[in-house]
């Protein structure tokens, strides 16, 4: 049994979907004992998928399984007096409660922070909601799509396009806004837990997923504070900006015979080495490609020449040749490529867990390794609905 970094820390995860459960998942993989408290009909994530053969099944939702591995699970009707009592019993022995209801709904059951702190004064109570428990949008409803767009990220995802009015901003795949909300919650909660270890104090933490998303763009916000305009989404305006020397990174995607490769030989020395990878083509000596500024200004023509060359080779070949010359370049990988990636395999990034209903699956593991402490990344599969009712709830009585 691997102890992890947080032995003895007990967490109640009253979250549904992604944001709060992701926070609790992080705490679980750091070694906390996390008890997931689900309503009788189960967490919303059990209905989210992906499902094997696209057939919905409450014990086989990929997102539920990924978000809730390494947790224990109980089911409780918090609206019933017995359920509320049991919840209070669990909260009395917890260090942390994580929730993501519409603002105030645990309070509606008489189970808000004000109640719980009378039972457990050192409790850390973390709420993750789309806009936090504050401000004019406090009661606004938002999903991942809405938060990705409202926070400014969608505006930048596609880069510049020919016609913005027929090519709208789009969101990234997955559930990035909800994951960021969960990561912000885990960060703040672990800081609060550290304070609790030193001072004994608990607290209530209010997380806004919107602010967590906005906070990913602090350099853009700082530009606004200095009166700079937002980067244009209209390609014609980008050309003007480039001519005025405002766009500096040289990099992009090249077509290959099996997909794409992303390259960025932005410094002059990198560019020299990149030309070597391409066997020093004759056009490279032309004046319009000889300096970084010149390459930036003539990038459409340049990119065409690069693409003619790259189309003859595979993305993995080009990435390897480039990296051998210390040029930043990587294949544009699909999920399939990830399972064949030597680096991820060598670092044992994927973690296989056997689940009684969904079978053996490989889950993304942790991006970090601690030299002196192992992490319990595969301690147990996500709980079946109500799986630990008997072992956990009966102990309370």
């Amino acid at each position: 049994m691997v102890a992890g970094l947080l032995p003895g820390v007990r967490v109640l995860d009253v979250g549904q979907g992604i944001s709060a459960p992701y926070c609790a998942k992080i705490l679980a993989q750091m070694g906390a004992e996390v008890i997931k408290v689900e309503p009788l009909e189960g967490d919303e994530a059990r209905r989210m998928g992906p499902f094997p053969s696209d057939s919905p099944h409450p014990e086989k939702s990929g997102l539920f399984l990924a978000m809730n591995a390494n947790k224990y699970g109980v089911s409780l009707d918090l609206a019933s007096p017995d359920g509320a009592e049991a919840f209070k019993g669990l909260a009395a022995g917890a260090d942390i409660v994580v929730e993501n209801p519409p603002p105030g709904s645990l309070e509606a059951h008489g189970l808000g922070y004000e109640t719980l702190k009378t039972i457990n004064p050192g409790l850390i109570f973390t709420s993750v909601t789309p806009f936090g428990n504050r401000g004019p949008y406090k009661y606004f409803k938002a999903t991942d799509l809405v938060l990705y767009h409202m926070s400014g990220h969608a505006h930048g995802l596609l880069g510049a396009v020919e016609n913005p009015d027929s090519n709208p901003p789009i969101r990234a795949g997955g559930h990035q806004a909800e994951l960021v909300g969960g990561m912000a919650a885990a960060t703040a909660t672990l800081m609060a837990l550290y304070r609790k270890r030193i001072t004994g104090k608990g607290c209530r933490i209010d997380i806004s997923s919107f602010e967590a998303m906005v906070n990913q763009l602090i350099s853009g916000l700082a530009n606004c504070a200095y009166g700079r305009p937002a980067p244009p989404r209209d390609a014609r305006k980008v050309e003007e900006a480039a001519a005025a020397g405002m766009v500096s990174a040289i990099g992009g995607i090249l077509p290959c015979n099996d997909g794409y490769v992303a390259i960025s030989p932005r410094e002059d020395v990198q560019w020299e080495r990149w030309l070597g990878v391409m066997d020093n083509p004759a056009w490279a000596t032309e004046e319009r490609y000889s300096t970084r500024d010149a390459r930036q200004k003539n990038s459409p023509a340049l990119w065409k020449l690069l693409s003619e060359w790259s189309s003859n080779y595979s993305k993995h070949e080009i990435a390897r040749w480039g990296q051998e010359q210390r040029i930043p370049c990587f294949p544009v990988n699909t999920v399939l490529d990830l399972f064949n990636d030597d680096q991820l395999a060598h670092r044992e990034f994927f973690v296989e867990i056997e689940h009684p209903a969904a079978g053996a699956l490989k889950y993304p593991g942790a991006a970090y390794k601690f030299s002196n402490t192992g992490l319990p990344l595969a301690a147990r599969p996500a709980p079946l609905l109500g799986e630990h009712n008997e072992s956990i709830l009966e102990k309370l009585e």
């Binding site: 947080l6 032995p7 750091m30 989210m48 998928g49 990929g62 997102l63 990924a66 504050r134 606004f140 409803k141 938002a142 809405v146 409202m150 969608a154 505006h155 930048g156 995802l157 596609l158 880069g159 009015d165 789009i170 795949g173 997955g174 559930h175 960060t187 672990l190 800081m191 837990l193 304070r195 030193i198 209530r204 602010e211 967590a212 906070n215 990913q216 602090i218 853009g220 916000l221 530009n223 504070a225 995607i253 992303a262 990296q323 930043p328 370049c329 990587f330 294949p331 990988n333 999920v335 680096q343 991820l344 670092r347 990034f349 889950y363 593991g365 991006a367 970090y368 601690f370 402490t373």
Partner: protein, 390 residues
Amino acid sequence: MSDLPLDGVRVVDLSWIIAGPTATRFMAAMGAEVIKVGSGRRPDPSTRGPAFQAYNQSKLYCALNISSPEGLELVKQLIAVSDVVIENFAVGVIDRLGLSYEAASAARPDIIMVSSSGTGHFGPHKDYVAYGSLLQHYTGWNSISGNPGGEPVPGGLWADPWVGMELAMVTAAALNNRALTGQGQYIDFSMAEALTAGIPGAILDYQMNHRVPEPMGNRDARYAPHGVYHCVGADRWVAIAVTNDEEWQSLCAVIQRPDLAVDPRFDNADGRRKHQEKLDAAITQWTSLLEDHEATRRLQETGVPSGPSLDICRVFNESQLREVGYINQIQTRDGELRELPGLPWRFEGGEEPIFTEAPILGQHNEYVYQELLGLSEHETNRLVEEQIIY
């Protein structure tokens, strides 16, 4: 003594560019004393321009040439009186400088050392040269982002800020463990793995259904309608996500289409997904006559998840950010009062996070070398002249 969570924690910040400085910004705002160590020999690219104010708020900044023997000795003395060291140089650089975890923990046995790199610090591709934007391609993150059938997207700015927050998180976890056990850590962090960990649905879909998940633009595998709809004005859109039948009924009422509300083809999400082009057209008829914030207001009034699709300057002006105090006014050294970003969380009833202007290189030399390390003024001056403190 403040009441902030990281009060009393001292961080030696050798990091640069975006990810590392983002992590230490969180720590500094939450009460840690973050000492950014840099050198005029090789300035941090992120200290140019307005981004400097965002990434380096609330920190101290001393100058030190750590590639000189005396500079190395001084940074070790600083580590000896600190709790955390963080760096995000290319793999191997910190070891060549003589500041491996072994060296750092010799100076301070319970030090927490956080090392972040593109692909992690061991493995066959540990030396791969990486930028965050390229890692978004390498890790599959961009493979599910974009328009269906389109070219891979550039991907926006995601990797570095995402990793920055996660680095603060792992540091807080290690501090907890040290408080419990007295033990420090070396943390090997891979930016690539942090991004791949952000697409669990796609990774499980591939295993469950033997298909490579593809980008869906604004669409969703489950919900409909789900997209952005053109409003009054160039490139103005409102995002709408209907996540259940009740919200669908509310949407039909707002857009004044009672006929759609009773049409059995649209009774459930599967039906609505099948006919989403038709529904999108009906919604656009309504949104195209409204400003994006006005459309949002009307939709939210009846409980339909929605919001305008904003560029960063419109985000900056959002009433929500201003009224909740996310944007703080800070006087910067140019004499202006600037509105700068804060933190995405509140510790209710607790002390406000610390936000001060970003420092300039060498601003806190006297504090670091004389007060903390006990050097004399004379000795400090010699080190400045010899370009050790530089």
